[in-house]
Amino acid sequence: MKLLVDDTRHTLDLEATIALQSILPRMLEFAEGSPITRLWVPKIAVGFFAGRTFRAGLDFRRAPYRWIGSAEEWTGSGRVHLHLKDDRDLVDLLQGDAVAIRPGYGIWHVAGLLKFQTFANRFQTFLRMGTLGKKEIKDCLFQARLLLDLTLDAAIHVAAQDPWLKSMGSTGPAGWAHFGLRGLSGEQIDRWIYRSVEGVLKVCRSEPEAGAAVSLIFPTPEAAISLISQATDSSSGTALGQVEVRGFIPLADALNLVFDQIPRYTPPLI
């Protein structure tokens, strides 16, 4: 019996899904996240192609910025096409690696393209908790929020497609888990993720009527970043109060099992 986790094609598919559907949308949030980042936004739309196939696009031409997932919606002026050899190169690019890009349609928007490149680099740096030079924005809560959103979003795809998780059987506890990110001034950002008995996940940004079966509160942004990026293991983080867990712990464990698999498909986040 062969385990599918050795199937590199399958792994690449999931990497690409996460890169396009979880990491790219975070770039929009990064753009809209603070007055400084808004200044960095290029006024173009960038489309990512694997070969000749449109895979996804980011539209920064006017607010609200948009993530575009279908070729039918990929219209209008101010578009730049970035052609990558294949999904592998596309994933590597979106994970911050240097790959060969063949600019296509819209190449004459050179200034916008260069601005996008700078913007994308800043996003990658921010996501990895680096500083941003003279224009450094120091906002741990914002960074924690981006990481949490990326993680929850990626978890949906990993839960659905990771071959090892599927081989282990997905049946488990169902319910909503509440994640709370506390800022240093007392503000709190909340997210909810639902797990079905079959292990299907969905994310929500407003409190579900059913209430949360388990609550995970990060008392500081630094703690959240450390745990979400898996720099600190969840067992230690819980014992040290970096995350306060209350409620139906098996649900948190079931989600954690999914979160644990995410780094297989994403770049190291710190």
Partner: protein, 412 residues
């Protein structure tokens, strides 16, 4: 961290900081802090006496978990310690088993009634895993049936964790529903003549959920079904063994397993486990390799001989039941007076407390946290364990604290 987190356990926290540098996760397994209430329950213990223990922060805690089961007579029981000390003075590990191993095997065979032989290990998993190998050796079949949600140890075929597992680890492990013989019969039909063993606990005690006693006739019918199908019935009596009955848990429930695994209460905290089996499986048992560096250590055997003796001589299971009933009725009364609706499940000597309309355990966790602050260890999501060291005084203290806490919960 949030202000005040772990304020009552500074030494535990400091020790944990050191632990996580050199131990993955700091503390692992069922005693990891996240299994109780982190920041409130102790992380490290210092010493114990009778029904109490002291954590590294010097707090005296009434222990209703008994080390998660082994301490059936309480901490530092004099007669047990003396028996162990006598053997310890003679030697710890030899090139051969000590004569005590024969004495203990004879004692267990005699005590459990259904069995003709016994072997020894160190932990529960040693025995459950060995038992299914014996079943496979005897039947030359592959499949094992277990109850959904049951815990049988940490080996790949049964661990509740998933890390490190591969698909093949569980290919031959199938689940059926507790108290539902049809669900097992259905498995037997789907995989005719492929099952080697059915592994069950005497009552169902899933983690984070209420315990379930066997329905009338369930275990007896299960025994009959297994015999008809040529499948070994393996009793995992690791957790409950000798707590419900001095002769093992099959006795009060009126059935006979083919193999039965024991551990926790066998030696009052000394590390030993055992499997007892019927004559017809002796040959298979001799063919399944069984050993370990310390499995012939006679000190736990000395402790076990003394422990089994005391359990029968002093009617310990009956005492545990009495104290359990006192605890249940007392806590139910103070809860009701405070307007809290509680329910009990499982046998009185291993009670599981839950609060009605608290499906996600928030209230029981708050109850457990506040009780620990007042010096009583009520586990929020695991069955509790009573010991012989718990007398009326300890039980009444637990009830008093529970009453205080329930009142405080109702007062917000």
């Amino acid at each position: 961290m949030s202000e005040g987190f772990g304020a009552s356990i500074p030494k535990s926290k400091a020790l944990f900081e050191r632990a996580r540098q050199v131990i993955p996760g700091g503390i692992y397994g069922h005693v990891q802090p996240s299994a109780t209430i982190p920041g409130v329950f102790p992380y490290f213990a210092e010493r114990g006496e009778g029904g109490y223990y002291w954590d590294v922060d010097g707090r005296k805690i009434l222990d209703l978990m008994c080390g998660y089961g082994p301490l059936i007579l309480g901490y530092h029981h004099q007669e047990i310690e003396e028996a162990a000390a006598i053997q310890r003075a003679k030697g710890l590990v030899f090139n051969h088993p000590a004569s005590l191993s024969v004495e203990l095997a004879e004692k267990l065979v005699d005590r459990v009634g259904f069995a003709d032989w016994t072997v020894f290990g160190k932990n529960g998993s040693d025995m459950t895993t060995w038992a299914i190998q014996v079943a496979r050796e005897h039947t030359k079949r592959s499949k094992i049936a277990v109850v959904s949600g049951a815990y049988h140890g940490v080996d790949a075929w049964c661990t509740p964790g998933k890390g490190g597992l591969i698909l093949e680890d569980r290919v031959h492990i199938h689940t059926f529903e507790w108290n539902n013989l049809d669900s097992l019969q259905s498995l037997f039909s789907d995989y005719a003549k492929q099952f080697a063993a059915v592994v069950v606990t005497p009552f169902h005690h899933p983690a984070f959920g209420e315990s379930e006693l066997p329905h009338e006739g369930f275990l007896d019918d299960l025994e009959q079904l297994c015999h008809r199908e040529g499948v070994l019935l393996v009793l995992d009596d690791i957790r409950a063994g000798f707590r419900l009955h001095a002769g093992g848990s099959h006795r009060p429930y009126g059935f006979e397993p083919d193999l039965s695994c024991y551990c926790k209460a066998l030696a009052n905290g000394y590390s030993i486990s055992a499997t007892a089996g019927k004559e017809e499986f002796r040959k298979a048992a001799t063919r399944v390799f069984l050993t370990g560096s310390y499995w012939n250590n006679p000190v736990p055997m000395a402790a076990s001989l003394a422990c089994l003796e005391i359990i029968a001589r002093e009617s310990v299971p009956e005492h545990l039941e009495q104290m359990g009933l006192r605890l249940q009725s007392g806590i139910s009364a103070v809860a009701k007076a405070a307007g809290v609706d509680v329910r009990w499940s499982g046998p009185p000597s291993m009670p599981y407390l839950s609060i009605r309309d608290d499906p996600n355990l928030y209230l029981i966790q708050e109850f457990a946290a506040k009780s620990l602050d007042r010096g009583v260890f009520f586990h929020p999501h695991h069955n509790w364990f009573l010991s012989q060291a718990h007398k009326e005084k300890e039980i009444d203290l637990a009830i008093e604290v529970a009453g205080d806490v329930f009142r405080s919960l109702q007062n917000g």
